[in-house]
Amino acid sequence: MKFNDLLLGLLVLVAGVAIYVSALGFTDIPGQAYGAGTMPRAIALFAVCLGLSMIGRAVVAGARMPRLELAPWVRAPRPVVSALVAIALVVFYIAAAPAIGFVPASLVVMAVLMLTLRTRPVTAIAVSIAACVVIQQAFGRLLLVPLPRSEFLGFLW
């Protein structure tokens, strides 16, 4: 999904205006003309100027490029599904790891993604188990990162 300069310029302009409007509600340091809104307002002005300049240049150049160009992967269902699976697996980890623990959650994330990418099932499961144990030992045991624990796998810690 590729935007041309005209569309990107418009997006930047709208974002700039939105940031500026939202920054109007921020308070200043008591007795000063500067405060929480100063930086967002400066960024907004920068964005508005950039947006206008991009729109101007695109209009002058005739904006020959299509406004929205779809990458080849967008048209094929498989890459889109794979990308969505990858994102969904991270969401699954965030939701499930505190309840079921690091080891089962990470095993699911790695094995399912490998299978989605057409790795042979035996390889996917074997590599996932090995990687899972190595990561748990390195982070959980050696570096003392408090990874979510599983009741039945307490011996790993």
Binding site: M1, K2, F3, L8, G9, I19, F26, T27, D28, I29, Q32, A33, Y34, G35, A36, T38, M39, P40, A42, I43, F46, L50, S53, R57, W73, R78, P79, V80, S82, A83, A86, I87, V90, V91, Y93, I94, P98, S106, V109, M110, A111, L113, M114, T116, L117, R118, T119, T123, A124, V127, S128, A131, C132, I135, A138, F139, L143, V145, P146, L147
Partner: protein, 500 residues
């Protein structure tokens, strides 16, 4: 001379040498794991140093830090996951070199020129520490403001692709940096009632998302059916570097000098140093178009610069007790615990300990070469794994690395959001690097800008009233205006030719 002999005796003891070796391995391990930083390596070492004498305690920290800063280049080069923002400056070049089968040359350049920069910084630390620290102390908010603007400008102009798209990236980074309560008025901004957002956007999860998760997503949509990288390039860790040194002597020197000088400025560490050096390298290069496509020149200069800055950061730390970066901030605490109160008196009261620290610096940068060689050789096996197996494991490392920063799942959420943003940015040819620098330097820019405006009572002229500030300001304006002037002149030339 007796003091120097005493310092040598303090360092060259079996126990101290063993501590140096063990800390080197530890620093290399922590730095090479995506998501874990040199600062984290230092923080993890602090409890261990409680049980040591001053010299081995400082030696452990110095060695682990130097190793971790270099080791941050390993995941950057192999997996496009820079270990530190400093490595992010040249990650595009080192990663593309890896993709074209030149991983060992890329990592070798990072290793050798890091060591050269580190040794140069140490020589300066030994010889000119008090003088440089005095200059650094003259920096006020005006100078820091220009220094930050200079760093941000460099990020835009060095990034591949068009300048407007680089600016979009910078806006994304600067906006993300405004989130949270850490602002001049202490008012929550864009937190939407989320308590975790009050602390702002952590740059490590954001960086992992923008660089690594976006790469995983890209690999996933492209089918991930090819090996992660091409094989080849078995030689080059050291053999190619002699040729690089002969080819780029000026770049090596310039990177080392700039890195040490910038590192000596309190608060301006290896991150800004690497970005500015990379930009300078591109600006003065005979082949600027090759930058960002797998060209070693930027690696040479910025690699020397960031390790030069690591040594340089110790100058204000030792001489005035002012930390040059987050690592030296921790070190100052350790120095106090050990009874080594940093400041001018330490050179008078315990000179043998300071010289011992200097010797450790040299040792750390020398030992980096064999340790780095082993780490690169070990890491190379990663390259032979097919992408469809490697990418899910990388995703898991990203998740754990993002979690490890604050030990909350919120880091993983941030990583995912920035991963999707990074993927969409790259689909639209928007470079990622300026967003990272905007995120890292945004708070510093805001603080120094607002402080300066209050001091100047709203007058912009005050930004040019102090000599160093004026110099930095004019240099920054020149960086912005020279390309415009060149573009106008180029446009006029064909018109004039047509008129003739």
């Amino acid at each position: 001379m007796p003091i120097l002999a005493e310092a040598f005796a303090l360092v060259f003891q079996p126990y101290v040498l063993m501590v140096i070796l063990a800390s080197a391995a530890f620093g290399m391990f922590v730095g090479a794991i995506p998501g874990l930083t040199a600062t984290m390596a230092t923080a993890l070492l602090v409890p261990v140093t409680f049980f040591m004498d001053p010299v081995p305690a400082i030696a452990a920290i110095v060695t682990a830090t130097a190793m971790a800063i270099f080791a941050g280049d390993i995941p950057g080069s192999l997996l496009r996951m820079p270990g530190t923002p400093a490595s992010a400056a040249y990650v595009e070049d080192s990663y593309r070199m890896t993709r074209s089968g030149r991983s060992e040359e890329a990592l070798g350049a990072c290793l050798v020129f890091s060591a050269i920069g580190g040794i140069f910084g140490t020589v300066v630390l030994v010889t000119a520490a008090p003088v440089l620290a005095e200059v650094a102390l003259k920096f006020s908010s005006f100078e820091y403001f220009w220094l930050v603007v200079l760093g941000l400008s460099c990020a835009i102009f060095v990034s591949p692709g068009s300048v407007p798209r680089g600016m979009i990236s910078l806006i994304i980074g600067l906006f993300a940096a405004t989130i949270g309560i850490d602002n001049p008025a202490g008012q929550p901004r864009y937190t939407f009632g989320n308590v975790e957002l009050l602390a702002g956007i952590q740059f490590i999860p954001a960086m992992i998302g923008l660089f690594a998760v976006s790469e995983v997503l890209r690999s996933v949509v492209s089918g991930a059916d090819t090996p992660a990288v091409e094989a080849g390039g078995k030689k080059g860790i050291f053999t190619r570097q002699w040729a690089n040194l002969k080819r780029y002597p000026l770049q090596t020197l310039r990177g080392s000098v700039a890195g040490t000088a910038i590192g000596a400025l309190p608060g301006a560490g290896a991150d800004i140093a690497a970005w500015i050096s990379y930009a300078v390298s591109k600006k003065f290069s005979k082949e600027p178009k090759k930058f960002g496509t797998g060209h070693v020149e930027g690696l040479v200069e910025a690699g020397a610069s960031n390790n030069g800055a690591v040594s340089g950061a110790w100058i204000p730390a030792l001489v005035f007790g002012i930390p040059g970066d987050s690592i030296t901030a921790i070190v100052i605490g350790v120095l106090y615990i050990k009874g080594l109160n940093p400041g001018p008196t330490i050179f008078i009261n315990q000179p043998q300990l300071i010289y011992a620290v200097f010797i450790v610096f040299f040792l750390a940068n020398i030992i980096m070469l064999p340790m780095g060689w082993i780490a690169i050789k070990a890491a190379r096996t990663i390259l032979s794994i097919p992408a469809r197996v490697l990418m899910p494991i990388i995703l898991m490392f990203c998740i754990v690395g993002s979690f490890a920063i604050n030990n909350t799942p919120f880091g993983i959420t941030l990583m995912l959001i920035f991963g999707v943003i990074g993927f969409l940015m790259e689909e639209n040819d928007i470079p990622i690097a300026p967003a990272i620098l905007g995120l890292v330097l945004g708070p510093m820019l805001e603080q120094n800008f607002v402080t300066s405006m209050i001091k100047a009572d709203g007058s912009f002229l005050a930004f040019f009233e102090r000599p160093i500030a004026a110099g930095l300001g004019l240099f920054t304006i020149a960086i912005w205006s020279i390309p415009l002037v060149i573009a106008v002149l180029r446009r006029r030339r064909p018109d004039a030719a047509r008129a003739a």
